[in-house]
Symmetry: C2
Subunit: 334 residues, 2 copies
């Protein structure tokens, strides 16, 4: 059945029960003009949109994963501020020929992510869209520590850290778009596909970082490590030097890059959609940061250092130091 045949109100009645959940902070949930949410401390809020054939391709991500990723990628911004997300509003933009089944699958993915991160969807909007499917998610949360973690707090001498591994989503897109005949083993392909389809923002890391006064800045990696490092350098008015060989990547990414004749670092620096946290920590706190993050199961790698100087990024590689261009992913110009 198509959404055109069902109509807006009936569609909402079908989708609502999928994501219905109760939590002590939702005073009024879906069903009135607006939601009423119980916050007693500063609220952290962010919004993100994903558009078909711009931010995702339906042949590279299944509908359940699309819903999952739409929510977790939006949670990532709030988490990187050192906050716990509690609520989300979801707007669907639907071509009238969209299958109702597809909407339900997207909602199943939203529900899965909501349950995993303890986030309730408390409202939204379903609107007709000419030709493209899109989903817009707004997330609210509450600061975990005494202050939000900003991009602007880095200081000379701080070490630069990054959680998890980078470049997997970018490598998967490169693999699926390649015209050559490189074939990955099923498990390597699964490894990279999961990075693209099921990104997991680093809530456990944020809980630790928010409680550490020595953590001086953070940013989530949505547009690629290079772009986020430039944001920290620019907001903090400092220079950052990173050691290219220390940037953490998956073995499957390195294998693919070797076979495809690509530079694995390109995926890590410019691929984007990693939803890991990059940040800075005073050097005296680096040991504590490593210990405490590893204690909660978060892999963390020191990849560079903050210096005085013109805002920008230098990369050390093979004994050479070179300036890293500011190249973020720009959908309008790609």
């Amino acid at each position: 059945m198509l959404v055109r045949d069902l109509g807006e109100f009936e569609l909402i009645n079908r989708l609502r029960p999928i994501i219905q959940r109760s939590d002590s902070r939702t005073l009024v949930g879906i069903g009135d003009d607006a939601a009423v949410l119980d916050y007693r401390r500063p609220v952290v809020a962010s919004t993100d949109a994903m558009v078909e054939n711009v931010h995702f391709r339906s042949d590279l991500i299944d509908d359940v994963s699309l819903g999952y990723k739409a929510l977790t990628s939006s949670l990532s911004d709030v988490i990187a501020m050192g906050a716990k997300p509690y609520h989300a509003l979801v707007s669907l933009f639907l071509p009238e020929s969209t299958e109702v089944k597809m909407c339900e699958s997207v909602y199943l993915g939203l529900k899965e992510a909501g349950d995993e991160f303890d986030v309730s969807i408390v409202g939204g909007d379903v609107v007709k869209s000419p030709l493209a499917f899109a989903i817009s998610v707004t997330v609210f949360g509450e600061i975990l520590g005494e202050r939000p973690l900003l991009r602007s707090g880095a200081e000379p001498g701080d070490l630069v850290f990054v959680t998890g591994d980078l470049g997997g989503s970018g490598a998967y897109l490169h693999y699926r778009n390649q015209s050559s005949t490189v074939i990955l083993s099923p498990v390597d392909e699964w490894d990279l596909a999961m990075r693209h389809r099921r990104p997991k923002p680093q809530l456990a890391a944020a809980e630790v970082l928010a409680s550490m006064p020595d953590c001086t800045s953070t940013d989530d990696i949505s547009d690629g490590l290079a772009s986020e490092l430039h944001e920290i350098a620019s907001a903090s008015q400092l220079r950052i030097v990173i050691d290219a060989e220390r940037i953490p990547t998956l073995p499957s990414l390195r294998k693919y890059a070797r076979m495809a004749g690509a530079d694995p670092l390109d995926f890590a620096l410019f691929g984007g959609e990693d939803y890991q946290i990059v940040g800075t920590v005073k050097s005296r706190g680096a040991g504590e940061l490593l210990t405490r993050l590893e204690a909660v199961g978060v892999r963390v790698t020191m990849i560079g250092r903050v210096e005085e100087g013109n805002p920008g990024i230098d990369v050390m590689r093979g004994g050479k130091r070179e300036t890293l261009e500011q190249r973020g992913f720009d959908h309008f110009r790609s």
Copy 2:
């Protein structure tokens, strides 16, 4: 210049200064992963989207008014909960051939509405959109009184009130779409066009209603009076009887309906986009409500009464009582 030539980051740098404003409740505004907002009481949140050729036509609304209406129509949901909106997040969905000038005009309208209602835009997203322009606005506010004003509180014997006048926007669209030769005087046309382009949500009314325990339910009129009355009746599990001849409409609407051979009540009941408040009040509080709303310059009309019975709406007209069909505006089926 087109947004394709300027690119996402440069476009954001151009738009941001237009809506930049400071207020004591914005702890971190635009420019980091998320905004940090100072709320100490429950937060009221709602989101709304407008899509080109679905919710608006660029030949019927200018770009500045489009920005103004995108914000004020979204504020309306939060205001109808008895809350004062303070912050908004705005996402633009832009075809790459959109003129930068058009985006700037939309932002000027957002700024105008933000200044008028003391609301700061603290973040958002700009994304590429295949074929249609769209704007999605999420609004946060804080409850004005002791509790939110819901749809579900109406009780038998309550009187039904409505603020302002209804149907102007619907009549304007009907006028501009008509194939007949009815021509409105310039001032009548302006009257109706303003209802379509520059809706003003009833913040002053909400401030009064939120402080009146005798006000038992409210809803904002976005989909037409009939649809909103059905929502109150359904949420409160009661029957509502309205007096058709008491529904307030503009003289210009009545003149147009007479000339076009249309029923003026159709515009008021089914037109939508009025952004007035319909609600219920205990009869003992109706006098106070009239006095206090008129004291703050809000016109208010008693149009009906709440009764026991099957949830639904009856309309009295010319001495007859008839059941009102549940007909909301459904973009998917129109």
